[in-house]
């Protein structure tokens, strides 16, 4: 199994713990991830401001993988969604494809057909499969209670993600977490957005959305939150402290990437998985499994 690794902007600069743990887990599972240095922003952050430029950036990145004959594995849900969406549009809109190709000719590229775009977690869920993943586990995580946050662009818009999971009752991440032996925690606002995209516009609104889920997770008694998007992590992990002080409350909820959780089950150490880089301390959590 071989994919072009699409890191996007946030992960290499702000979420090295995610990148590190994803590379470790991929290597263990025999998934070859090819780095393409010339990848740029996926286009998602400028979709609200300039959708034409956003689509052009997505198409540029799709072309780079296509000309190497590789499908794309993205770690960020927004990157996955932006790239998939443009691939979806361009496959059915010849006029748009011609317009895009006129712009891409400036860098000597031509959009012919799209590579498949997949989030890493979807590859694990659909292509690697339970048995293969479990075959690499060394550590039992059954002393942990873990809740999943699917976020929005991992699953939606559902048609560009081929409806691979049910947006109203998703279970792909829970199924992957359950493989580790951890108890999967259900909670009332599981499907809600992290609030992240509103952060540059209205911080209070954004953090209120984030807080609602943190409260629900505390009430449900989760030991940790599992997620698959660096932007969701900015909200739940990076901003958890400011929500605690702003609203005079306490969560102390460790927020881990799925790849860190699977990596723990595979027997990797804390540092190998970048757990020292998580903002909310994870030591008490990993002490429960003897680390």
């Amino acid at each position: 199994m071989k994919y072009a690794l699409f890191l996007g902007c946030t992960i290499p600069a702000r979420a090295r713990n995610y990148e590190l743990s994803a590379r470790k887990v991929a290597e263990k599972l025999g998934i070859e991830l090819v780095d393409i240095e010339s990848f740029m922003c996926c286009g998602f952050p400028i979709k609200a401001g300039d959708i034409d430029s956003s689509e052009l950036l997505s198409a540029y990145n799709l072309c780079l993988a296509q000309e190497r004959g590789l499908d794309i594995c993205a770690l960020c849900s927004s990157c996955t969604s932006a790239l998939s969406e443009v691939a979806h549009h361009l496959s059915s809109n010849e006029r748009r494809r011609e317009q895009i190709n006129e712009r891409l000719s400036a860098v000597g590229l031509e959009y012919k057909s799209s590579p498949r775009v997949r989030h890493f977690a979807r590859i694990l869920f659909e292509e690697v499969g339970e048995e293969e993943i479990k075959a690499h586990f060394k550590k039992d995580l059954s002393d942990l209670r873990i809740a999943s946050h699917y976020g929005c662009h991992f699953l939606k818009p559902s048609e560009v993600h081929d409806h691979f999971d049910d947006v109203e009752d998703p279970d792909s991440l829970d199924a992957l977490v359950a493989l580790t032996g951890a108890e999967v925690v259900d909670y009332p606002v599981k499907k809600k957005c992290c609030g992240g995209p509103v952060l540059p516009v209205d911080e209070n609104v954004a953090l209120s959305v984030t807080k609602e889920k943190l409260e629900s997770l505390r009430d449900a008694g989760a030991d940790a939150l599992c997620l698959v998007c660096p932007f969701c992590s900015v909200m739940y992990d990076g901003n958890q402290k400011s929500i605690e002080s702003g609203y005079d409350t306490s969560f102390k909820l460790p927020v881990l990437y799925l790849t860190q959780i699977l990596g723990l089950a595979m027997g990797f150490g804390r540092k190998e998985l970048g757990l020292n880089m998580n903002v909310v301390k994870t030591k008490e959590l990993t002490a429960k499994i003897g680390l």
Partner: protein, 155 residues
């Protein structure tokens, strides 16, 4: 938000303009069931943001009031409304269209303008510098380019 509609403020061409753009074609199918409002994580916190009302305002042609508003920028693009709309209105795409139109008319929050400038200038929202590469190296991660030539050719 106004209580009554001033017909002098209505632009009868607005719906036609919207219909010609992606996301703006099917808003007239809205039958105001408000499933979008009930699903919206932002409406639950800030009543200023109300997708059903924004669609209704657009259908009335209240172009200026919508495009100059602060509320259109509150959409988090979570797609909860779009996934659930029984009439198949592409509500999230419609909100993105309104934001794009607002920017074309010169109305945009500073944060959004800054993101646009950064990505179109540097090719990344967080440009990589030598210090980032040093940290990447320390973590055992491969280096990334600190500048992007292709972005200058593309824009």
């Amino acid at each position: 938000m106004m209580g009554t509609i001033d017909l002098d403020q209505c632009d009868p061409d607005f719906v036609k303009d919207l219909a010609g753009e992606p996301g703006g074609g099917n808003i007239s199918a809205c039958f105001t069931c408000r499933t979008c409002v009930a699903s919206c994580p932002i409406s639950a916190i800030n009543r200023e943001f109300n997708p059903a009302r924004i669609i209704r305002m657009a259908l009335y042609g209240l172009k200026e009031e919508i495009l100059k508003s602060d509320f259109i920028w509150l959409c988090s693009t979570c797609y909860a409304c779009q996934e659930r709309c029984p009439q198949g209105v592409s509500i999230t795409e419609f909100m993105t269209l309104l934001k794009n139109m607002a920017i074309r008319e010169g109305h945009a929050p500073a944060g959004i303008r800054a993101q646009l400038k950064l990505v179109k200038g540097e090719g990344r929202i967080y440009p990589i510098d030598d210090f980032d590469n040093k940290k990447r190296n320390k973590a055992g991660l491969p280096p990334l380019p600190t500048s992007c030539e292709a972005i200058k050719e593309l824009f």
